[in-house]
Symmetry: D2
Subunit: 396 residues, 4 copies
């Protein structure tokens, strides 16, 4: 329902042999990925080795104006990023991370959850490293830089560094001449590749970011796969492949956009399926099935179809509620859920209601939602959750 897990990101990258409006493409791509992170965003453009960046706290349409896109200029590759930061936005942490190391500049767009980040950080600090922020991306930058001196190429350094990284990570590494896409060996986070009509190769967290720029989805990267786009074409390296994909269940039930295709399945279809399974495993006698908007709706439709109980739209969301909502006086605090959601009384009054939600990580917002139904006259409220929160990899 309302953003309870906030550490999530969306990444996007594009590579071509020729200069073009890559900034515009990335802008559209991260706009389509906005649902994966609303606190900060950025783009780094690479024009034949010259890097230009624009990054800031805010939504994509707030951070990027016509002018800032023009300033980024044209280039032959670019990476972009959208991020949530656990509700504590910090300008020093905004990605893509852009650094200079011994072999030149490197930009990193990262989505993941590194299990051994603290351990690696300590190790690099003992070697004299300094850190500017608390992101895993900076740790990974050191991990790659460490290997670079003894490697013939940036991709060799990336492959070596991966032996030291543990956890969930999808990476786009942009060097002066190459764009490298990396998916962790467990495939915990999504990353797909596609192709534009002009031959550009595109990488994105979700396929909805390909649709927006008319790129065709080629396929998901395999768990552990490293794809290198450079002068000599596109190369797939499977040195770290082998594991079966263990895609984070939250991608399906919470993070991803319903129109994205993950592992061959449209997210909406997966969610509806989850609702059907829920109906089979946790049946209940009731008069109506309603979902919590937006991500609970598909599972509710699935629950309704499977159970034979009629589906209805029970809540209306105020689509203008943003991050800046203020609470003018103390006594108005209880309205915060009400401002976002309103019940349609006719749908629930006097009825036994099945309420389907997609995720209840902490459960704190479930209570006011159930209360809204009771106040509107529901005689019974049966809550059904379409995903077990303990499956989230960051909770391991």
């Amino acid at each position: 329902m309302f953003s309870e897990i906030k550490e999530e990101c969306g990444i996007f990258g594009i590579y071509n042999n020729m200069e073009s409006d890559v900034a515009g493409k990335v802008y559209h791509g991260i706009y389509a990925l906005q649902h994966r992170g609303q606190e900060s965003c950025g783009i780094v453009v690479n024009d034949m080795g010259l890097f230009t960046q624009h990054r800031d706290l805010g939504l994509v349409p707030e951070v990027f104006t016509k002018e800032s896109i023009e300033k980024l200029g044209r280039g032959n590759m670019a990476v972009g990023h959208v991020m949530n930061n656990s509700g504590k936005p910090d300008s020093a942490s905004v990605q893509p991370t852009l650094i200079k190391h011994v072999k030149g500049q490197m930009a990193l767009s990262y989505n993941g959850c590194l299990v051994n980040a603290m351990e690696l950080k300590r190790q690099y600090e003992l070697g004299g490293a300094i850190f500017h922020n608390s992101t895993d991306a900076e740790v990974i930058a050191y991990a790659i830089t460490e290997q670079r001196l003894n490697s013939k190429s940036i991709e060799e350094a990336v492959l070596k560094a991966m032996y030291n990284l543990r956890g969930a990570y999808c990476l786009l590494v942009m060097s002066p001449r190459k764009l490298i896409a990396v998916r962790d060996p467990d495939g915990l986070k999504p990353l797909c590749m596609g192709k534009c009509a002009d031959g550009s190769i595109v990488f994105a967290s979700e396929s909805c970011a390909l649709d927006i720029i008319d790129a065709k989805l080629i396929r998901d990267l395999l768990p552990g796969e490293v794809v290198v786009a450079g002068d000599s074409g596109i190369t797939s390296i499977k040195e770290h492949c082998g594991e079966k994909s263990s895609m984070c269940v939250f991608e399906f039930v919470y993070f991803a956009r319903p129109d994205s295709v993950l592992e061959g399945t449209t997210v909406q279809t997966a969610r509806k399926k989850a609702g059907e399974i829920l109906a089979a495993e946790h049946p209940v006698e009731a008069d109506v099935v309603i979902g919590v908007p937006d991500s609970g709706l598909d599972a509710a439709i699935g629950y309704a179809e499977k159970s034979g109980i009629p589906y209805a739209i029970g809540f209306i969301k105020n689509r203008y509620v943003g991050r800046t909502f203020i609470q003018p006086s103390q006594s108005e605090r209880e309205h915060s859920v009400k401002i976002k959601l309103n019940v349609i009384r006719e749908v629930v009054a006097g009825k036994r209601v099945v309420l389907v939600d997609d995720s209840v990580v902490r459960g704190t917002t479930s209570i006011p939602v159930v209360n809204l139904l009771r106040e509107a006259g529901a005689s019974q409220v049966h809550m059904r959750i379409s995903s077990p929160p303990y499956m989230h990899p960051c909770y391991f």
Copy 2:
């Protein structure tokens, strides 16, 4: 679908005998009415005759901050307003209109479409009047002021002025000591009244604005009814009543929020009903029924239920697309619909699709939407419109 008719407003007012946080209440009220106007908004607070205002171009959460609400201060009554202005926002036209006339100050919140505005304007100008903006509200302010000198009370002036006004209008008139709510004799625009637990009387364009502050809906104002809230209580004057309500059909199919109750019926139910009628009157053989988000969805569900053709969600909306979206390069223009909507291919590929929309005023955006379906592989697309555009009163 996407805002084609833009001249629409939402009005909200509150009256109490005692001073309280009326600004906070109006803020919540106009926030719930944001769907009726996104270009400008304002609040005027009346603290025992002392008027304070804050108005500007922008959404409610942009224009009002904690600080600006505090500056408005407490009072015993207040009115608020949200507006669209045909896409040409003009700071001089932002309402509530606050003027000073011979009997003191007066604030006006107005929603409507005055048929004889130009005629009245000309007449007042010949009498030496000057106009600061091009709103009907300023014309109405003159119409009331004209009668005020020869009237014993502000409500008497309002009732006399109504004989000169023709067309659709809902009005909140706040004088130093009274709050007067007016609905035009044809009842073309909605206006309801409610009551808070602390006894405050509330007027709003739609009942969803009462729900948000826990006010109970009393009833819609009758066509032609004038309700006066003042020291001596609440008085209903029916001098202009008599006409049967001719509520603008666009309120049901386009403007109002689905959870609002208009003339005793929830808007969502009315929309679903419209879809059922559409299925009966314009049947077609097809495989799936989908609606254009957001306002076409309910009619699509109704169409599906009546016709027996399965309903499905066929479009996903990017809920972060706002007014500030930029088009970095010429070649990206065609993406503008794509940025807002994405088709779920699995739902439509190879299928005969019934596409239900709520309103097609100019029809210009229907073509790209149909094209999206064709590109996604729909074998046939049958468009069904749940409301005839010629019914809109402003088109007479």
Copy 3:
């Protein structure tokens, strides 16, 4: 010294028979007049009868961007305005005032202090008038409109209206086809006219606004003079002339920029002269003469030259202190003068100091300034004021 009298304005207008970048010219003109008003500003462009405006609270470089100047477009005449509003900026009062009356549109830029504004306002209200703000400009708009119906031309209406106006006023009245400049019969406020190389005629509160656009100063308008610029050329009407000029003394000592020429004399020269007179009338034995920046410096130089006591720069101003300075904690309040001014100790320590200021309207800031000198070790501080505050016309 620091802005004690805040109700002041600067006006600027330009007329040509041909379309050109008048908005850019007015922008430069009001930028040069910024010292006359920092709270709001605006420009109205008239392109052969089509009026376009941009007005807002803020400094000229804040309100006007490249984009907003471009939106104003080209035209054949334009008027601009900068204003202070007694420290209570109110968006409804921002000028130029742009209204529509029976004969079309009219824009007004006004600098003055109307003695009978309240009286006129009451009279118009009794005739049905409504007022949107509390500026004299709106009253004058009614005064002109009232005469317009019985006048053959806009200038005739202006001349008739002037019989009803009492007090200080300089006016620029822009009608669809004419630009009319008006100086009140007592000549209390300054207004000059000049000419550009391309033949454009320009009106401005001070000549420094002509210099910036390379316009040549022709002369000051006479007290009571009305100059009409239109298709048939430039016409001067002296129906209201006759009075001797009684230019507000504050123009010389406080408002005007030192490089402006008022009534044939550079303001700086007038200020220096005032210092010389001061030295003659109020001599004192001392070691050094210093002025309070910025407007007290010229008088201090005059005092020093006349008295033979050495002149020195005793205060340094922090030129980055703007309107938005914040006081982080209660205990820091006393720093507010210190943040703006710092004493150069070497100049005053152990010395008898003559401190020359230009105006002490309320005297409240004189005390901390004298204290700064004492803390820095001055043995004696003799204050000398170069203008008597009771001479300000708004204090009559």
Copy 4:
């Protein structure tokens, strides 16, 4: 005159044993140093080891609001920074630099010009270091971190690191428990220390930043001196002392505020003296001496006194011209100097003028200034420069 050398900074730090409003103190301090850098600023507060930062592009009163100062909170020490960045402001470079290294957090405020920065950078990169920006401060952070592992204390690491640094640098190093002030062995940049009434020790680039918070100036740091403020009091370490001070001449003639005391002399006095020397070395026969505002005025007064030629104020500066000035049309470009400066004709017309400026680094703006005088009717213009540009250490 107008900012020609842009790479300059101001630094400020405060230390106390007890928690207090150090953020407010630093805010005032860097506000007084605003003339040393207008493109970005920042403050880092240390509350018993917990670091909080706020940094951004913009002037001090733009970046810091009451709210952001409150968010920084109280602490027992803090450092601040203002910077120019050669006209290419870059959010990644804003100081104070805040990093985490093996011994915890460290904040750095730096003013200088490191001669061997590129060399050191290369050396650290070969050891695996990554750089986030192109500031010397980050290089110095590595230089200190490198020594920290083999040092018993942070000050020992700083002293060792200094053997590797060459060029001009003043540093404030804030560790969890200490504040360390460093002046380079050649004393090229200014740094002084002072004491508040409550016992706080303060370090600042110029003494005007002490005045504003009522701190008493103790003395300048010696060239090479390191002062450590910590639990055990204030310690001065002179391991790197010995060189004679070679204060950058631009500090006196260009950077510093006239009321600051550098090496025992008020800057204004030094500037006046420079004007006297100039008059002795480069005499000329003329009628009037004028200075280019603001920094050329004192030298002009000195020139006038020494030469016996009368001094006058010849230019008026528009004090509202900021960084955001726009040029509406191509044809207006030539106005850019005129918008900032206007000549007082009476002062120069028909006269032989000595024009004194403080610095002519590139000389490009001298031409339009001389042109202004010629257009105003000066019969001769003799330019005199009070400082030789080749003396600037960054030009070695």
